[in-house]
Amino acid sequence: MTIKNENMSSAGLSRRKIIKGAAAGAGVLAASPFLLNIAGAADDTIKIGFPVPLTGPYGSEAKEQALCAQMAVDEFNAAGGLNGRMAELLVRDDKLKSGEAAKRTQELIEKDKVHFVAGSLSASVQLAVNTICADREIPYVSISQSDAINEAKNFTKYTFHEAMNPHMTAGAVGRYVFPKEGKRVAFLIADYAYGHEMARGFKEAGKAAGIEIVAEVSHPLATKDYSTFLPRIQAAKPDVLCLCNFGYDQMNSLKQATSFGMKDQMRMVAPALLYNQRRAGGAAAYSNVIGGTNFYWGLEDSIPSAKKFVDAYRKLNAGAPPSDYGAYGYAGVGGLLAAVKAAGSTDADAVIAAMESTPYDLYKGEQHYRKCDHQSVQSVYIIESKAEADMANEYDVFKIVAEDKASEDVLRSCSALGLG
């Protein structure tokens, strides 16, 4: 006789008996999750899964992405949804780990029956989410930078990349900076996929400008102390230093470079100059740094859709303007829902066709998805960080100095990606 017989001899296989009997070991702790397995009633809500790293180093960016994505959903619903069908955003924490993201995405698809997935904030995590979604034929909109996701190895017809890619941003910044600032170029590279992708983008752009690479220094991800790396760069006497790192790495390396007096010797350049990081790092560390961005709230002066987005965000957030990565969340989900409306259904193929064929303008001017790799073709804005004295208020941190116009010409060609 087993414990199973002991507890279930009289009453057959009712769920409660099973819980009490076979799961005795799990006890009270695990009993509550068991009860959650009441299959969700089939309703006609349009569900969008949104895995982002709410915990971990990019937590504040992720929370803002979720907030902005919710704005897009609320706007869609306020406008009547899809003939009365409302949309719902299901935010999950992927903890910035691809295994966790793969699990969470399976949960979203199997348990919550989402129609679409958007999100992720890491080059590696998005590849995992992409695999899970593509296998299950669920359209996925990535809102984080990556070159690999456009390549034939990872691209499927279900894959969409709303974020810019390192090739675009580093390329745009390089095309702007190299002719102006000089040909002797040094690289400080965070030693992981995204870091090297940015460096590659700079080098491609540098070919046309005829740059000379005088130093190339890699540092491990999440380095706090750059004092062993920076002197090697100083010694090479470059005109331009390309910081191919992200987030806290970018902030810490800039702070130390500033205190080493390197800003007087060379121009600092960052492909993805982040709004939140700049505000956290302070004006002194960032002043005069040139970088690229998908969006800065100052665009509201020149672009109507930006004005609309910034105003809506300000209303919800006590006057604070949205950040660049927050805007990705808004555009990723907003673009998806616009395509749902255009297609008139949530059928994956119909929505994909609508996304491929319909240009959209949600927050920064017109964008469209390139047919062969579903990369969002969009303008890259070149910005320069202001010094403390030039700031009108605490949010006024950047000056837009140039626009690298939306064009398929600045992307890697479809054949270079292995896509025909």
């Binding site: 296989l13 799961a23 005795a24 695990a30 295994g99 793969a102 348990k111």
Partner: protein, 318 residues
Amino acid sequence: MNMSNLTGTITKNRVLVVFAFLLIFPFLAPYEALATDVLIYGLYALGLNLVFGYMGVLSFGHAAFFGVGAYGTGIAMVHFGVHWVPSIFIGILMAGLTAMIMGAMAIRTKGIYFAMVTLALAQCVYYIVYHMGELSGGEDGLTGVSLKTVDLGFTTLNIIREPLSKYYLVLGFVMVAIFIFSRIINSPFGSVLEAIRENENRAQACGYDVKLTKWVAFSISGLFCGLAGALSAIHLSVVPIESLHYHQSGLAVMMALLGGMGTFFGPFIGAMAFLMLEDIITTMTSHWQLFLGAIFMIFVLFFPRGIWGSILHWISRR
């Protein structure tokens, strides 16, 4: 310990009890992917439990076996186009080989030093795989381990579309492993393990080759964890680099402690409790680590036998 009839019955028929429970488990779990995860992590903690619970040696390096199992299987499938069944065995064998090498170096030490040496060696494995970018995908992890359908001869399982059939496919492997594990524990070899746990010097004085036994147990433990890793590669269709990280090693220790180290069913209970709690708490708050940590501390302080160990103890005292 004075065991009553019930605990005696459970212990005697432990494989059947586990099997019966796991058979109905997916209908109780919140969703199938989580149930499959519990299977995989239960097996992983079970493998660790052989050295940790039964032999009394704490290893902080078992992520290496889980990860090598996962990468071995994934790389065989993605880069060499090997069929998934032999791929799993390639993963298991590579994990076993890693365990043999790591074990040979680590068993020279004892206690905390053993834990530290295994931790260090596992980190070496992490960085080796990290830098094999061409094969392992490096930072991005290995993607494209997509096993979509499984031909069983009489029927074809679409494991992507039907997560339940994926669960039972994994369960098939896990049950074979559990059966073998039970036989190992019941064998004279298993008794030597427990003798080493209770009193290593005495076991040596009785004429057992303690070092050899430790090494063999460590290697076998690696095989089980390797299978868990191989199954996770198929389950997730990606192999993330963090499957080799020392967090992953800590996870197995935590699950074994939570469920009850040195008990047969404990690792599965631990994996279940941990993963389900994590699943629920993370959807409610982003401060999930705080809650999990508190729960873990409560168990270590007040229920050192773990969930399953405490229940067995409680039943046997009635």
